[in-house]
Amino acid sequence: MAKNGNANQALTFQELLFRLQRFWAERGCVLQQPYDVEVGAGTMSPDTFLRVLGPKPVRIAYAQPSRRPADGRYGENPNRLFRHTQLQVILKPPPVRIQEMYLESLEAIGIDLRQHDIKFEEDNWEWPVGGAWGVGWQVMLDGLEITQFTYFQQCGGMDLDPISGEITYGLERIAAFLQDVDSIYDIVWTVEPDTGREITYGEMRLPEEQQFSAYSFDYADVPKLWEHLRLYEEECLALLDGAKTMHLDEPAASRTEALTRKRFPVLGAYELALKCSHLFNLLDARGAISVTERVGVMARIRALVVGVAGVYAAQMTATRTDASNAEIEEGSAVVHA
């Protein structure tokens, strides 16, 4: 059987992650740890969703386990997962050579581009709940979609300037491709150095897939999920209301006020919104949301997510203004002393 050219010395799953992280770290990315609240995609982590807002340049990379309850298959489908792993790279503003950098990253994980067919095919990304969209491509390697490449244009309903370049690698797919295995569960996660024993993806994750598929499809308590959703939503809305009364976008009258504003937990409100999004996905997988309700519930969550983005942007602006004011105050204090 023809191999994919490098299966013998193919990277393990964890080496793949190391290589990509090292590659991007060497190109100026801060390596962040995965976000610890359930998200459906790396884009939803505040390290992407909130950092792409505002003018401050960002270079960040992180692996993000991404939960999609409806995609679970009880561990029985070789290509589908309840929870897969994305490697997310955000470059704001995008460097001119961003595509070349991306192609170099493929070389860095052992893909000799001269031995493969690579295409950038139009694929525009959209997350209506986050008021976010961008244009870009799906990157096809020998007919396999291995990456989503997006130039963010709007986020939280706001135009972005500068925009961000987002590169999202599907790690399981790439690992299965590199190792030439037909099932994700056969991916070699790592090899024990002393014994040479291969630890597979299935060994590490199969029970999780089985149990969370069962939870999402069969066990999750629908009335309680609705109740959780209601509670998280209420708390998030209360915080958004609180933010409104603080007039975050106006200059602070005092240092205390500036500090209070800086400490206002917009990030906490975002986590609550993410919780709602995950609960929505669970309810959806459970078949508990009729198409009738669907639009309405999505609009509720959109109000939270977009609301948080607006407050976050205002807080950032206020913090910047306050910071420059504070410098002036301190400067003049020296003169008086």
């Binding site: 023809a2 191999k3 994919n4 067919d117 950038f120 244009v135 007919g143 130039y151 925009i163 198409v291």
Partner: protein, 699 residues
Amino acid sequence: MPDFLFEIGLEEIPARMIAGAQAELTRRVVELLRHERLLAGAPTIRSFATPRRLAVLVADVAELQDDLSEEVLGPSVKVAYRNGAPTPAAVAFARKNGVEVDALATVSTAKGDYLAARRIKSGKLASELLAAEIPQLLAQISWPKQMYWRPGRPERFVRPVRWMLGLLGSTTVPIEFGGFVAGNVTYGHRVLAGNAPLLIEAPAAYEPALLAGFVVAEVEVRRQRIRKALDRVCRTIPGARWREDHELIESVTQLTEWPSVLLGGFEPEFLELPDEVLVTVMRDHQKYFAVEDAEGKLLPHFLAVLNTESDAGGEAIIRHGNERVLRARFSDARFFWQFDQRIPLVGREALLEHVTFQRDLGSYAQKSARVRVVAAALAAKCAGVVDQAAVDQASRLLKTDLTTELVKEFTELQGIIGGLYARAQGVGELAAAAIYDQYRPASMEDRIPRTAEGQIVGLADRADTVAGMFGLGMEPTGSKDPFALRRAANGVIKILAEGSVALSLPEIAETAAEGHFELIGRMLAFFRERLEFYLREVKGQSYDVIAAVLAAGANDVRDASARAEAVSSVRNAEEGGDFVALSAAFKRMRNILEQARDKGLVIPDVVHPTLLLEPEETALAERSADLATQVEALRSHRDYVAALRAIATLRTQVDAFFDAVMVMVPEGAVRANRLALIARVLADFSRIADFSEIVVAGS
């Protein structure tokens, strides 16, 4: 004269947008050159496009605009001279134009004599003009979707600009756009040529240099290369051919710079899956060409168009990768196909209660129940030609495939999958075909359902959707048609026009709207608008013919279409002259009658022979009465062409009538009788079309 070459290098342009942008760029560049007087005669133009570039090459462009000599009018002679000596106004005008007063000419205009100076506007350099104008031209190119990429959002374009090349002869034209200044280099294939710039010394060297850089820049050359390669590779399998697919050819042509074709295979057991599923996976998801034998039966092979060229080793790797992806997708499809069989369609009716059709219109279970009633009523009206039991079975199972995993995976195959499952599960062939065809026609180019049963079900489904949405006040407005109601109504029209069931638009609207009078009226107005669209866009009928025909009746779609065809054919045939003249006369009659009514004159129903004074009016009265009987017989047999030809012969009497007879005479009884005569003629001969709507040249 030198050639002009402009190339803009971009990150991968979406395949679907390339052809339009290429044409627009070429057109705008040629217009600019022409507008700036830089082109002589018919220029030789070539244009190029790949996913990473758009380029235009125009031969023989002037380096310098010709000087333009223009005459500038100055003060009038009266003001310019006093007592034979130039006034300050004349002196100032001469100075402004850089000539002596003596050198000024005098020209006569309608307003009198004026001084004039001849001024030479010296031509500008082409490279300066192009550098100044092309950036604006680029900004005007229209894209379906654009993006910002640079901080400060200075421009929008389809994708970020990566380089530009501008050459007039061997001179660089420094066009600035997207943060780049055009130079004299381009770039070859991403992988095969690497990132090294290719120096282009003159426009003619562009295409060969790119070929050496593994880029076939001309679209047609690439298209032919792909077609030949598909043929060549296919020949390695005896008796095989690739399934022709124009759209897919276009798509892969615009996805590649250096195309090659790869033959791959899959396990023959996947051929147990329906062709529709296999082809959808190959074509829509993977952009592969399907391979079939001489009888059109699928073979376990596919053809992938690559954007590279590799040795045998590389090709084996790429083939392996593509086969792996296809196998995974086919495995998924087979899993769903088998999984779905656990619950046959008949067991899925109840599951539709959980699938919402529309918030206020309820679930698909409710929709199916309504469609079933409408379909049954329509089938009853066509009792002789449709199998009513099959219609009922099809409408019950119509939407059940929405609950299957295979449709959730391949939404574009809804309906088709239902039909395939119905057949596999032993549901009757007629019902299965009706389910399979339910979304056809998907467009005005698409075919309608093959069977009368399928047509009835398709009509009922669409009419129910239109009635439901209109009932909620959700009519399409302007470009907004979120529920695709226009497409639904277009489907109704096309099925009625081309199908085998004889149903009228009022019958359909009344059945679907359950007798709600006001709703029926709105539906009929909407159907009529779609019928006009159909006659115009699909049948190519002109506006006036459509207006004329529909004024004589718009309930029977097929009949209206036949009448329109007859009117157009007679108008364009030998009788056309008589016909058009008659139309003008009918318009005159209508105007006379309208004026009479406006004046409050009573138009009697009966023409009294005793009041016909002139021989011409007697002739018209008698001839038209005879002809009316003849035309009515032809019309009732729907022999519209013959009927129209007969009507056209009336021109002689009509013309003679208008030449000799005045209608609006003072004597009341005579006038009333003449009005009655022309009213009768109009009524008798406007049953196929209202000819007064026909536009007569010059009127």
